[in-house]
Point group: D2
Chain length 361, copies 4
């Protein structure tokens, strides 16, 4: 009999239907099907693997995930330290704050007349509605908080930790900002100006002209120094956008000052954008290797799916198998309450990069 | 206090992570999140509802679902009569036959050199590989079977039932074709010429010049008559393509000869194509209403997702809750072994439409 | 000075704005930009190259291109023999026939209430409307024509040539079907049953029960024999679907019986589907090489764009530069009026494949 | 004869091929086809209309447009005041600076081994390559410039104007930054921290620890005040991202302090993202109306296309017809060289919003 080609090694195993399968069992059965189903199962395997390795895990989130009902999943990931550092768009933090403050988003429909919604001051996010009036009230709340701070520059990391603390103290409710506050997980928000959080901060200047000075360049320095301090990293990205790029540039920037850094060891992205239009959101993890954002031998997987489908399943599956791994994780310990954060007891400067050895160039 | 807007009625309920959730529990928790996650949960609800109503359920499938590991899910849906009639591309039936005959598809990668694969005679379907040699052998098998048939026209419905029977007798294995044969579920394949099934049939002419006459127009007539005989219908579509349109045109054609027909009562589609390029695969279910393909008050949902993610979860969930409903379903009974099929004991002509009342125009 | 990397050879040349640029000048300036703009410029170059080579050029079209205003572009390509053989969905031929018969499609909007349209019997194709009543009248016209034919099997190639002739005689108007009739360009329609053309044919059985027997397997044989007779080919595909696969399988099937055939020498596709869901419409031209659908050294380009943007520009550019090439093309000459077609004076059987040498396996 | 439906008013006019058509003639012929071709033609009409109205025109750009060869188109739009204010991602400004400094991007391929590229220090953007070494050198150049500035907060608007001036003085070359400098067109970059511009600025802290303080909240205030000063606006968006949202929030924020503001009067977006995943990049212009980002009666059009195809054609067409309109435009006049910018001679504060009347709530 003829020898089988080396390319015909592992057969596709058709998914067998069975009642009562749990999320983790579902994903195990999807490991040997094809296309994005297989990729989702691989994402589960890669995340489990990350948790067993000694890496700092970054989570990036873009897209309307908080408004869309995923904020408590992200809070769960933070609280249980499936991840060590969050990079988010401002909108996701704002919609999280909205619900933590006791307001809601509402099940709506994409098939409505938007001028009617405008007349009733309802804001639409595809199939989801919210009250503009309540949003205005949030903005005021953020403005008040901002104006209450000492007047000096704040990185988004510091500002968001303080905001999370204030939110926790006034509400005592679970959410992304409050979970990160309580678990001492840093949040970076590189595009904070481009969000309702930014709008709220800007309105603080109506109360105090010199308030609301956000040191986003400090965030760039801090995020790179985090990696210089602890060079082995992993990247989990939901939806692309500025968080995806910020997490990658932190690694590239860190490598510039510390040769030991050499790209993320693990990379997992759940995106709906595609590579062939050249945008960063849809760029492939292979492309990331050319830039050194990703190690040459990194375990990586890209899942082409709306996160509102992929994430509930993926994290439900992890909830079944990850707890013992989480118990043994060697995770970084942060202090976040002041202008200078620390990781594992070491200061993480925002005013210069730590040069661990000669720059690579 | 101010009255809430009528648009702010049902709050989004953030997904709460919990270990051990089963597929049906997952989908229940996704009912009040947003975007495609909510749509997938709605699909579960709509399918459950269909099963409780007295409707003939059509399932359309396009895309490489069989090669991609979903063929036993479809076989399960047929065997347990979640659906009453399958409309498929030829490729899905061919790849099903390939595995039922004991061959396999293989876990591959999209990052390979395709000229190397060509040299080794490996055919690639994105991240999945197969042996061309085995495919050639299937073609011969189909050609032999075709040449063994009496020389006369066959609808794809008749041909595929006979093929399924032959396959069952020679292999005794589960699959789409064999499940449909055993459950007496008709399969239509409107584009059979555009597939390796069609290639196999065409090769039968090398053995017998006048063989392989497929009466696809007979399929058009039969499928419409099925609906004229039993006017309440539902449509489930995976991936668009010719099956989506064929199921819809059967309804439109039936309405032409029977005023009682008035579009599908339920419609559920899982697609990755989008509406704004005008193609039928991505067309919205709302657009379908303009054509009368769908009843004005039809329960409907469109899920934008790769079927390899959505279908395993959806059918696993159904497996938990549908069995009692399946036991009580009033489903149509078919005979399929000859040129003229029957439904519920009545002949379904292929040579003229049953005119139940005056044509609408 | 350091040597430049071999990867940094041809600089991107930013597009320079200038008034009065013609379509071909626009595309020349897009040759050295990036992403899909570059690909569209490359498509122009590849098509020009095809026209200078001795190849049979297949054109596949799927998606609502005729309803969407591109039918006279396709008619122009046929009449001027930019292409030698058309493979189309039924819908594109139907909507072409609709306009050639003097009816129109109408500029509409995707933001309308579809139940209102249904009430007024308006059918919607995304942003385009048509009268259902006029469609019903077309169906009758097709049914009458079909019933007028001698009762025997017809390939779609023969049927569509006769239909085009009848249409030309009764209307004298330009269109796809009439241009193909007048230029003796064959049209294959592998999924004819899945279209209003198929619906019209099926209605002929109401007049004559044994009419409308379409020999689609004959089309499979003929299309492969065309390639066996003239093994050098090119493939241009608009929108994927059954035409894309049919053109490719013809080449694969032909190679089975004639070793000289070895995949298309040129391949150009304009698609909006993506590869990563595994469907054939979005499959890459690299993947096609693994199957032998495409020669290993084929000039190829895939443009990710709606054809309603890409095609008007591309063909307008060709209209400026192609005419001298068209005058010198060695194109195949067909006769199409009977059950057996000819190419360059040789018969093209529909009842067996021409075996030019031993089968490859 | 029966009355035509009101929905069947303007017939689709099939595109007629003709040699020698210029870009504007092409788009005029695409006005009455369908789908995205029609939308592109509508975009041309809407932009022409904007230029005849008394509106401040914002241009947003995201995606790798500068690296991809479109930077001189954007520079042309700025220099000739087709637009009045640019909002950009940092990457587009960085890749513009790279080429203005005499470096190049290179025609590459998506089918390469990225680890090989990494070894040769080539960075890939889909099908485009660049030298990492040259990028490092840019970063240094930006760091030097940043460190040379007086130590105080800078809005991105002020910083980028100064950077453009420095670039113009040292190179004398055309580009986005230099054109904006010379034309006194403000550039906002809300996510500047998330880009190589941000990386360059951050590296300035290695030279001077307290440098590089970017006041992005000042940008939020300034951009809203621009609209308060001149309430009629238009929005042109390429590719979504932070620029799209920033332009819209400026309008929403402005309306909060000035009731006369009521959303953009014109909106034109060229995007590849889709609405149904809920992200802001793909969100529809109808959804924008629910938020008041867009006036209820705004002329608007969304084109689903890669900008590398749509923009060269669109701007080439405008170049033929816009010049007389540009000559008569009532455009805002800016001064940008200091911490406080002016529009039409009036100061635009960055430290408080101008309250033209009582806040809406």
């Amino acid at each position: 009999m003829k020898k089988k080609s080396r390319f015909l090694h592992t057969p596709v195993e058709p998914f067998a239907v069975e009642a009562g399968l749990t999320a983790d069992q579902l994903l195990l059965r999807m490991e040997r099907i094809s296309f994005q189903g297989r990729n989702l199962a691989t994402a589960y395997r890669v995340w489990n693997k990350m948790l067993q390795d000694d890496v700092t895990i970054f989570l990036g989130m873009a897209g309307a995930l908080s408004a869309g009902g995923l904020r408590l999943i992200v809070a769960h990931l933070i609280a249980n330290r499936y991840v060590d550092c969050l990079v988010s768009t401002g909108a996701n933090l704002y919609h999280d704050l909205h619900e933590t403050r006791g307001r809601r988003h509402y099940v709506g429909s994409p098939h409505v007349d938007d001028t009617t919604l405008a007349d009733e001051r309802i804001d639409r996010v595809y199939d989801t509605f919210a009250s503009e009036e309540e949003f205005v009230e949030n903005d005021n709340w953020i403005a008040d908080f901002t104006a209450s701070l000492e007047t000096r520059p704040y990185t988004t990391r510091e500002f968001l930790h303080l905001l999370g603390g204030h939110l926790w103290k006034t509400t005592g409710r679970d959410g992304i900002l409050t979970a990160a506050y309580r678990a001492n997980v840093p949040i970076f928000c590189p595009a904070i100006a481009d969000s309702s959080i930014g709008m709220g901060i800007s309105q603080a200047r109506q109360r105090k002209a010199d308030t609301g000075l956000i040191d986003i360049i400090g965030d760039v320095v801090e995020s790179a120094n985090l990696i210089i301090r602890r060079p082995r990293t992993a990247s989990i990205v939901l939806g692309g956008g500025t968080p995806k790029n910020f997490i990658n540039q932190a690694s590239v920037q860190a490598e510039f000052y510390c040769a030991e850094v050499s790209g993320h060891r693990y990379a997992l992205q759940i995106v709906t954008d595609v590579p062939h239009f050249g945008g960063a959101s849809g760029s492939s993890l292979e492309e990331a290797q050319s830039w050194g954002k990703l190690a040459a031998d990194a375990a990586r997987v890209s899942v082409q799916s709306d996160a509102t489908i992929a994430l509930p399943i993926l994290v439900s599956a992890l909830a079944a198998t990850a707890p013992p791994l989480l118990g043994q994780r060697k995770m970084p310990v942060f202090t976040l309450t002041s202008r200078v954060m620390t990781i594992d007891g070491q200061k993480v400067p925002h005013d210069h990069f730590e040069e661990v050895n000669e720059p690579a160039v």
